[in-house]
Amino acid sequence: MAIRERMSGNEAIAEAMRQVDPDVMGAFPITPSTEIPEYFSEFMANGEVSTQFVPVESEHSAMSVCIGASAAGARAVTATSSCGLAYMWELLYVAASSRLPITMVVSNRALTGPISIGNDHSDSMGARDSGWMQIYAEDNQEVYDNFLQAILITEATRLPIMVCQDGFITSHGVSNIQLIEDEKVKEFVGEYEPEQYLLNHDRPLAVGPYGTAPYYMEVKRQQAQAMKDSMPVILEVAEKFRQMTGRSYGFFEEYMMEDAEVAVVVIGSSAGTGKEAVNRLRAEGRKVGLIKLRVFRPFPRIPLAEAMCRVRAVAVMDKAESFSNSGGPLFNESRSALYDLPGRPYAINYIYGLGGRDITVDDFYEIYRDLFIIADTNDPGDVYRYIGVRDSRYEEGGFDHRSEE
C-alpha cells in the first residue's frame, strides 16, 4: 500500500534521501533547494539516517565532497540551484569524466543577471554539455520517483545525474503525493557495490589524473559512449520501478498524441499547465497533443523525432535562452533530430517562463492556435519566438509573431 501524503517537492526529495540513506551528502544552501539539506539535517539530528553529512563553505566544495566520497566508493548525493550549480561548473566535468556516480537534485532557478530567484532552466541547461545525465519532473510525485530511479541509473552507467524540478513551483508547492514504504525503497535501491574505488587496496586506482593528448580524447569518447549506452538502462530502471509502484516512466510522456494534428514539446511543471490546455481544446474538438520530455541527457533523439513526426506542426518550448540567435537548447536538438525523417512537421520555438515569468493555460491556447495557422497556411513564419513577454516589437510581430487576424 502506497502512503498517501501531501508535501512539497523539496520535502519529497528529503524524504526520498532519508529512505535511501546515502553514505555521504555534501551540502551548501541556496534558494530554492535550501530546504532539502534543512529537512535532511533534521533526519540526521533524529538519528533516522546514518549519512555522513558534510556542510561546506561553497557549492564548489559540496561537489568536491561528492567527488571524493564517490571516488572512495560511497553513495553520494547533493542538492543545489542556480548560481550554486554555476559555482560547481569546474567540478561537474571532473565528476563526469572520472565516471563517478553522484545524484544531484537541482531545484531549477534562473541564473543571475539581473538577480532573480524565479524558476527557469538556465542553470541546468547551461550545464547540458558537462557529461551529466539530466532528468526533469512535472510535479512532486515525479521528482520523488525520479530521484529513486536516478540512484540506480547513475550507479549502473557510472555517469553522474541531475534530478531537476522547477524551483518554487514544484520545490515549494504542496500537493498530494504517494510515498513508497521505506523497506520497498531500500530493496529497490539496494546496497551500492562499486566496481572500482579508491579505498580498495587490492586494486589500486588513479582518479582524475592528467589526460595527455594520446589519452584525453579516448576518455571523452568513452563518456559519449556511456551516454549512448545509458538509454536502455533508463528504461530498465523505469520498468523495475513500474513493477514496484505501477507508475510508468520513459524518455518522455505522450499526452493525447494518438490522433493529434499539432503538438507542444515541453519540460517540467509547465507540461501540467499545457495538459489542461489540451483537455480544454480537446473538449472543443481540436486535435492537439503534448510531449513532456523527461530525459534531456541523454537526448532521446530518435524516439522523440518519431513522436514529433506524427503531427503537422510542433512548438518546442525552452525555459532558457541560449543567445544563439536561433532558439533555445531543446528546440535546436529537437529540430535537428527531425532532419533525417521524411514527413517531418514544421517546428517552431517558444522561449517562455524566464526568471519566474508565469505561463498560463491561455498562453498554451495561443501557441496551439499559432500551430494550426502554420499547419493550415504551410508558412512557419519566424521559428524563433517568445511568449509571455513585453516586447517593443509586439505590435509588428517581432518575437511574438502574432498572426494577422
Binding site: R6, I169, T360
Partner: protein
C-alpha cells in the same frame, strides 16, 4: 479567459510578509487533504521582506489538478490585512459571486464603502479579536482558515473540525492549552462569521 474544465476551487490569498498568509494557505491545503481532496498550496515568492504584499494560492478539487500557473480568476479571495485594500487590487479577476473574505474589525457594510465597485458577497472576520480571546495572542491563521472553509463551503464542516483537532493534537502534543485554544478559535469563528 478559457473555462476551467474541472470543478476545481481556486482561492487567492493576499497578505503581508510575516503575517502568516502563506502558512494559512498551506493549512487550508492540509485541511482539504485530510478531507480526501486533491490540493495545491503555493505562495508566489519574490524578494522576501516583512510587511511587503505577498500572494498565495490554493487549488482544491476532487480530481488531480495539473495546472501549475498562478490563479488569475479566483473563485474566492482572502485578505489577511485590510490595509492591502489601498495598495493591491485584491478583487482582480474574482469570479462573479466570488466571496471577499477579509480580516478586519470593520463590518461588511464598512468594507463595502471602501470598495464601491464591488457588488459580490463579503465575509468579515475579526481574527485578531477571536484569537486574542481564545489563544491570548494575535494568531490570525486559525480564524482565517475557519472563515475560508465556512464561507467557501469547500469542505464538510463536521469533518473539518475533527480533522483539525487531530492536526492540532499532532502539532502541539506537548502544549495541550494551545490545542484547546486553537479549537476554541476555530469553533468561535465558525459560529460567528457570516457571508453578507
Amino acid at each position: 479567459m478559457t473555462e476551467n474544465s474541472s470543478k476545481t476551487m481556486e482561492i487567492r490569498w493576499h497578505g503581508r510578509g510575516g503575517q502568516g498568509a502563506k502558512t494559512a494557505c498551506l493549512l487550508l491545503a492540509e485541511a482539504a487533504f485530510f478531507s480526501g481532496k486533491y490540493v495545491q498550496g503555493f505562495p508566489e515568492y519574490g524578494p522576501e521582506r516583512m510587511g511587503a504584499p505577498i500572494t498565495a494560492y490554493n487549488r482544491i478539487s476532487d480530481e488531480p489538478c495539473s495546472v501549475h500557473s498562478n490563479i488569475y480568476y479566483p473563485d474566492h479571495v482572502v485578505v489577511v490585512d485590510e490595509t492591502l485594500l489601498r495598495t493591491v487590487d485584491v478583487l482582480k479577476g474574482l469570479k462573479d459571486g466570488g466571496i471577499l473574505i477579509i480580516n478586519t474589525r470593520k463590518t461588511a457594510g464598512e468594507i463595502r464603502e471602501l470598495l464601491p465597485e464591488f457588488e459580490g458577497p463579503v465575509c468579515v472576520v475579526d481574527a485578531e479579536r477571536i484569537s486574542t480571546e481564545t489563544l491570548g495572542r494575535n494568531f490570525p491563521n486559525t480564524p482565517m482558515l475557519a472563515a475560508v472553509v465556512k464561507a467557501s463551503g469547500v469542505l464538510d464542516l463536521g469533518q473539518f473540525v475533527s480533522d483539525m483537532r487531530r492536526s492540532f493534537e499532532h502539532k502541539f502534543h506537548d502544549k495541550p492549552e494551545v490545542i484547546e485554544g486553537n479549537m476554541k478559535a476555530l469553533q468561535k469563528t465558525l459560529d460567528e462569521v457570516e457571508v453578507e
